[in-house]
Every structure is written in structure tokens, then in C-alpha cells.
């Protein structure tokens, strides 16, 4: 079949041209009823274009004008297909292209997941120490406002912060003495700011820029001063490692990776949340272990009792935690205690506070 009919659009006007199409030696010749040649397209420049199933629509590669030839006869379309290398009505070329697209997109997904697992924590590790202290302070202040608003529900009717009333001043002085001893051993670049708040949970937390919150529940549960000092040493570890700043950087990186590049499909929101939670938990688990190691070393350096931190963790953490391990934001208590106790020196230790000071610290929230 060397010739057939077609419809031709010249790309200059919208007029339909009923044309005769002839298959030449090296090109396809399109001519109108009177025999005028309208276009002469080399076979290797023919380009298939999207069309309904029964129509073969072709154009010329790299053509700026949108010339279009449409062939409706199946046999003649097949004859054109035979000549043109880029036209393939069986869909072989399309399938091969699709296969490579699938391969590349899957590879891109895997590489981005690897970036999330290894790259983001490594980047945060590198960038956090480069941030000037002033910026970290600012970040800390902003986080501090939010933290305070979250912790201070304003229900108890008394001041949120302990150690301000006259009867509490002695407790505050005891705490300062303890913190000064730790700070002197730690040698932090900036001053530590600490505050005891009326929260019954046995907890403490460190913000970027060196702000440490100590909950009264922690002091209530402690049986000696070194146990409190051990937890504060752990928080100093977070400050020294700039964990608060790293967490902000990591969260930003994850939001970028999963919020903008990945997860943009129906149901993707759940994937984003799950991936962020699991990854952030894994980041903080590492940070907690590092802070424990730092606390143990600091306690040794300050002449305190390393085992006190382990005892305290056992008391407030309980033996086993319920829930899934991959969602836990700190390592299991048993493992932490074992790791801390490895650091315990045999040499004699000096208690952080004497009995009178310790009694005063116990009453820091007495009001």
C-alpha cells in the first residue's frame, strides 16, 4: 500500500485539507487534490501524537508550526508505521519508556528515603554547631514562649515558677550551687538558665540556647541530691550537643523532604506523618543515648555519683515501657541504665548537697 487518504492541518490556519498521502523512497509526501505538494516529511522525522484509538496522528519532529496529518485507514496507517522508526502502534516503545520511568522514579524514592534516614541527621549534626549563639538564643526564646504556654495551664492558683517566694529562696540557692558545680565541670560556651516549675511529672527538658526546665515531680521523686544532679547533667548534655537546635533542623528537613517532595497523593498525609514520627523518634533515641553518656562523663568529672542517674531513671522509667519500640523517643530504660552504669568509677564521690541543703531543695516548691 503506497498511498492513501488523510486529513492535513498546516499549522497556519485551522482549515481542513483532504489530502493524498504517498509513501516515497525516504519520505512521506502530502499533496492536495490538485497535486500540489503541501509537505514532505522524512520518515525518520515522523513523530506520533496522541489521538483516539482508530486514528494515526503524526507530526514532524522539531517543527515549530503545528502541522498535523491524520490517517483513518487502518491498513494504510500500518504501512506508514512500517516506514517510520519512531512510530510504533504496538506500544513497544511506549512500554519500554514506561519501564524506565518506573525504574527511575522508584530509584528516586529510595534515594530520598536514604537521605531522610542518614542524610538529615548528618546534616543537622554539621549545621547546628555552625549556627551563631545569638540565633540559637533567639530560637530558644521562641520555643520557650511556646513551651511555657504549653506547660503553664494556670490552674493551680500559685506562681508557675518555684524558688521565687521567700520560703523557697534557700531551695533555689541549693539548686544554684549544684548547677554551678556541674557547669564548672562542663565548660559550656554560654551560661545555663534553669527554672523549676510546678508540674507533678518527674521530668526535665532542655531548650535550644541553654534553657533547662526542671519539673517539681522530679525533685519530689529523688532520694538524694546526686539523683537530681544526674538528670540535670543529662539535660546539660542536650545543651552541649545542641540537640534542641538539631531537632528543629531535622524537623525542617523532614518537612521539606516529605511535605514538599514526597507524599503528595491521596492518602499520602498518613505516610508523611508516620515517616516523620518514626524518623524523629530514631533521631531522638540517638540523642538520648549520647546525652546519657555525656551525663555520666560529667558526673565523673564533677566528682558525683554516676549510678545515681541510673537509679533515678529506673525509678521514674519503670521496668518496661508499653507501646512500639520504633515509636519510642528514648531507648529502653534497661538499656540506658546498663550503659550508664558502665561509666561508674570506683573512686569515692562527694555528694552535691549536704543534708540541710538537700532538705531546702526538697521544699523549693513549698510556696
Amino acid at each position: 500500500m503506497q498511498s492513501g487518504a488523510g486529513i492535513f492541518f498546516d499549522g497556519i490556519t485551522s482549515a481542513r485539507h483532504d489530502v493524498a498521502v504517498t509513501l516515497g523512497a525516504a519520505s512521506l509526501v502530502i499533496s492536495d487534490r490538485t497535486g500540489n505538494v503541501l509537505a514532505n516529511w522524512p520518515y525518520n522525522e515522523l513523530e506520533p501524537l496522541t489521538a483516539p484509538d482508530k486514528v494515526l496522528r503524526i507530526g514532524r519532529r522539531g517543527n515549530l508550526a503545528l502541522e498535523r496529518l491524520e490517517i483513518f485507514d487502518a491498513d494504510f496507517a500500518h504501512a506508514v508505521d512500517e516506514q517510520a522508526i519512531h512510530i510504533d502502534r504496538t506500544g513497544m516503545i511506549q512500554r519500554r519508556q514506561r519501564g524506565s520511568v518506573i525504574g527511575w522514579t522508584v530509584a528516586a524514592t529510595v534515594s530520598m528515603l536514604l537521605v531522610a534516614w542518614f542524610g538529615i541527621p548528618a546534616l543537622a549534626e554539621r549545621i547546628a554547631p555552625l549556627l551563631p549563639v545569638t540565633i540559637e538564643r533567639k530560637l530558644g526564646d521562641a520555643v520557650d514562649v511556646q513551651t511555657r504556654a504549653m506547660l503553664d495551664t494556670g490552674k493551680t492558683g500559685t506562681a508557675f515558677e518555684c524558688g521565687t517566694a521567700d520560703s523557697e529562696k534557700a531551695g533555689r540557692a541549693a539548686l544554684d550551687k549544684m548547677i554551678h558545680r556541674l557547669e564548672a565541670a562542663a565548660g559550656l560556651p554560654g551560661p545555663l538558665r534553669s527554672i523549676v516549675v510546678r508540674k507533678v511529672e518527674a521530668n526535665a527538658l532542655a531548650l535550644p540556647g541553654g534553657q533547662v526546665y526542671i519539673f517539681r515531680g522530679l525533685i519530689d521523686k529523688a532520694e538524694n541530691a546526686d539523683e537530681v544532679a544526674g538528670v540535670i547533667a543529662h539535660e546539660i548534655g542536650h545543651v552541649a550537643h545542641r540537640d534542641g537546635t538539631k531537632a528543629v533542623l531535622q524537623a525542617g528537613g523532614l518537612s521539606f523532604l516529605f511535605g514538599m517532595l514526597l507524599g503528595d497523593f491521596v492518602g499520602g498525609g498518613a505516610v508523611v506523618i508516620a515517616a516523620k514520627t518514626v524518623l524523629q523518634s530514631s533521631y531522638t533515641r540517638e540523642a538520648e543515648s549520647a546525652a546519657d553518656a555525656y551525663a555520666a562523663a560529667l558526673m565523673n568529672k564533677a566528682g558525683g555519683n554516676v549510678r545515681a542517674l541510673a537509679t533515678m531513671l529506673t525509678r521514674i522509667g519503670g521496668a518496661t515501657e508499653p507501646g512500639m519500640k520504633i515509636l519510642l523517643d528514648h531507648p529502653e530504660t534497661k538499656a540506658r541504665v546498663a550503659a550508664i552504669n558502665k561509666f561508674a568509677d570506683a573512686k569515692s564521690t562527694t555528694p552535691f548537697l549536704d543534708a540541710k541543703e538537700w532538705a531546702a531543695l526538697k521544699r523549693i516548691c513549698a510556696g
Partner: protein
């Protein structure tokens, strides 16, 4: 020439030539790949969908052609990301400021991204139009995306303030702006739809949905002793609800009333939604003009209901299959996660199974929706069109050039995309 005579003579109507089966296959394969690639495949899927819909839509004997490529969409998206990173970073740093800038930054970011989203809508429309080829000529769009964005943002504010009453006038005004700047070759488009007419047609539906809520708010204001309520809430403590009830004995009745009214409002909204869609589609497509070419839509509301009935049918079928498969998967997840000695591997496997199940469910319903409602709306919208003045089609001259895909990328990154 025998094959040519088999083709219908160019008439005034629009036909859809596609087969549902092929469209289903395209969507299902796309959904699977979306899941595996965590969404990266969307550029390819969206392009495939457009190619399919365009190529199978025949206007006056000639089909449309979509010439956009997935790579263009991907590049547009990457450029959009590059534009958005500094903006997001700026807002993040501004939020750190403790003064008024920090407190205002959330609000400013919301407004700025809203305007940017409208900007993207207009530019994305330009991309799609310039990738639409018909009879060897392309469509294109002139006009300023920024002006459109400001106009659209002001309209959205007005619509918000009037609880939706201004919406018909908003659509009419924005559509006039878009169509005034739309061309097929050198044939200029315009929009003749009347906002007032849409307003009058839509008003009963608006009342049906808003009235129950308004009545409820009125009842609250009438019945509740606000001073006592505020005192009870402010006192705090464990028994807030108890104290509220003792000071406001009627509050329980009003709560029940509010729930009934809220239910009524939601029910009306759900039942009337197809009516609303049919109304919008009919009104919109009857207002489209290109030179002397006039379009009128004969779309019937019952047809749109039919699309939703098909959706519900397929959705139920899919739910049954999903329930059976999901039950088995849950058992497997339970075996992996349960037991005293759980390994990290078991937990990860269980999480992946649960998460995968959820994603399959969500993507499945979305695919069913696209293959039933969205395809039907396209098909019905097109096939119900009557075109007159088609003789103008014989002497349109080429004009316009292909535009950049940045608008599509922005719309994608900001989630304001369309087809």
C-alpha cells in the same frame, strides 16, 4: 477516500470517544505507581490522564490533542520548589521574632501563600491551554497572572465575609477575566454567563444548607446564659461540664438540637451536591464563547446523579474486597506485632502493612471517584454541549506560543491544581 466517508460529517456537537475500561486501566496502574513512588509518579499519571481525555474528545469531527509532557511538569515543580524554599525560610525566621512581626507572620504567610496559589491557578491554566492543540492550532492565554491573583484573592475574602453569597458573582467575574484573555489561534474568547442568574438558581440550595446552622446559632444565643458559661469555664478544674450544666440547665437540649440541625445541614449538602455540580457545569459551559462560536449546555441533573450512583456502587464493591483483604492483613500484622518478644523488624513490617492498607484504601476510593464521577462529568459536560457558529472554524489563524510549566509546578506544590 472510503475511510473518510465513514467519519461523521462535521456537525455542531461534541463526542467523547474514550472507553471506560482503558481509562480504568490507566488510573489503576497510576495509583499503584503513586503508592510505590510516594507520589512522584503523579507527573506521569496526570499527563496520561490529560492525553487520554483530550485525545478522546471530538469537537466538530476533530479531536483535541494534549502536547504537554511529564518532564515539563517535573521541571516546573522543581522550579516551584526552588522559589518556595526561600519564602518558607523567610516565614520561619520571621516566626522566631518575638515582636509583632513574629505574631503576624502566620497570618501574613497564610495570605501570601493564598495569593501565590491563585497566581499559580492562572499560570497553570495558561500551561494547559498552550498544550491544547485543535486542528493544528494551539489555544493560548494572555493577561497578567498577578492581577488575576489579586482579583481572585479579594473575591475570596468577599465570599468568605458573605458566607458564600458572593460566590456566584466571584465565579462570573473571574471566568470573564480568564476567558477575555483566552484565545484559540486568533479567535478571541469571552464569557457571557451571568452571576446574578447563578445566584438566583443557587440561592435555594444555599438556604437549605446554611439555614439549619443559622437557626442553631440563634437558639444558642437565645437560651445560653453566656456570663454563667464563661465563669464556669474560666474556673477550670475537673468538673467544668458539670458546673456548666448546673448554671445552664437547658444547654443539653440545645446541644441535641444543634446536633440534629448539623446533621440536617450535612445531609442537605451531600444530597444537593450533584445538583450544584450540574448547575455549575451547565451555567459555565453555556457562557463560553469564541468569536462567533456559541456554546450551550443541555446537561441534565439526573445524569450527574447517575455518575454518583455508579461511584457508590463501585465504592461498595471496593469496600467489600478491601474488608476481606484488610481482615487477612490485620491478622498478619497482629501476628507480627503481637507476642511478648517483638523485634524491630516485626514492628516495621506491621506498621508498613497497616499504613499500606490505609493508603490502598484512600487511593482506591480516589481512583473509583476519578473513574466514575470525574470521567462522567467530563464526558457529560462535553457531550451535552451544542455549538453554533462553527463556520468561524475554517479561517482561524495560528497565534500564541507554548508557555512555561512553572504555574503547574506552583499549583502542585501549593495544592491548588485542577485537571
Amino acid at each position: 477516500m472510503s475511510s473518510l466517508e465513514a467519519e461523521p460529517a462535521p456537525g455542531g456537537s461534541v463526542r467523547f470517544l474514550g472507553h471506560r475500561r482503558a481509562y480504568w486501566r490507566l488510573l489503576v496502574r497510576g495509583a499503584l505507581l503513586l503508592m510505590v513512588t510516594l507520589g512522584i509518579y503523579r507527573f506521569w499519571l496526570n499527563t496520561d490522564v490529560r492525553r487520554y481525555l483530550w485525545a478522546n474528545t471530538e469537537v466538530a469531527g476533530e479531536t483535541l490533542e494534549y502536547t504537554g509532557t511529564p518532564l515539563e511538569l517535573l521541571i516546573g515543580f522543581l522550579i516551584a520548589i526552588a522559589i518556595l524554599i526561600p519564602i518558607y525560610l523567610g516565614f520561619f525566621l520571621a516566626a522566631l521574632d518575638l515582636g509583632t512581626i513574629g505574631q503576624m507572620s502566620g497570618m501574613i504567610a497564610f495570605l501570601a501563600l493564598g495569593v501565590l496559589g491563585q497566581y499559580a491557578v492562572f499560570r497553570a491554566r495558561r500551561y494547559r491551554l498552550t498544550r491544547t492543540i485543535y486542528r493544528g492550532l494551539r489555544f493560548y492565554q494572555s493577561g497578567s497572572a498577578l492581577l488575576y491573583a489579586l482579583r481572585a484573592s479579594l473575591w475570596w475574602i468577599l465570599t468568605g465575609l458573605t458566607i458564600g453569597l458572593a460566590y456566584p458573582f466571584q465565579v462570573a467575574s473571574l471566568e470573564r477575566y480568564k476567558m477575555r484573555h483566552t484565545y484559540y489561534g486568533d479567535l478571541a474568547g469571552r464569557f457571557d454567563g451571568s452571576g446574578l442568574r447563578l445566584f438566583l438558581r443557587g440561592l435555594p440550595m444555599w438556604i437549605a444548607v446554611v439555614a439549619p446552622i443559622a437557626v442553631t446559632i440563634g437558639a444558642f444565643i437565645e437560651v445560653v446564659d453566656w456570663q454563667a458559661l464563661a465563669d464556669a469555664a474560666a474556673a477550670g478544674g475537673d468538673d467544668v461540664m458539670g458546673r456548666i450544666e448546673s448554671t445552664n440547665p437547658q444547654i443539653a437540649d440545645v446541644m441535641v438540637f444543634a446536633m440534629l440541625m448539623g446533621g440536617a445541614s450535612v445531609t442537605f449538602a451531600a444530597v444537593l451536591y450533584p445538583v450544584y455540580q450540574a448547575l455549575m457545569l451547565r451555567w459555565w459551559s453555556s457562557g463560553l464563547r469564541f468569536g462567533d462560536i456559541v456554546m450551550t449546555s443541555k446537561l441534565r441533573t439526573a445524569q450527574v446523579y447517575g455518575a454518583y450512583v455508579r461511584f457508590v456502587g463501585y465504592a461498595i464493591l471496593f469496600s467489600i474486597v478491601a474488608a476481606i483483604v484488610g481482615g487477612l492483613a490485620l491478622v498478619a500484622a497482629g501476628l507480627l506485632a503481637g507476642g511478648e518478644q517483638t523485634s524491630i523488624f516485626g514492628e516495621v513490617a506491621a506498621t508498613v502493612i497497616l499504613l499500606g492498607g490505609y493508603v490502598i484504601l484512600a487511593l482506591g476510593f480516589s481512583t473509583v471517584y476519578r473513574a466514575t464521577v470525574l470521567l462522567s462529568l467530563w464526558q457529560l459536560g462535553m457531550e451535552s454541549l451544542q455549538l453554533s457558529g462553527l463556520s468561524a472554524l475554517d479561517q482561524v489563524k495560528a497565534a500564541g506560543r507554548a508557555s512555561s510549566p512553572i504555574g503547574e509546578g506552583l499549583a502542585d506544590a501549593l495544592n491548588t491544581g485542577g485537571y
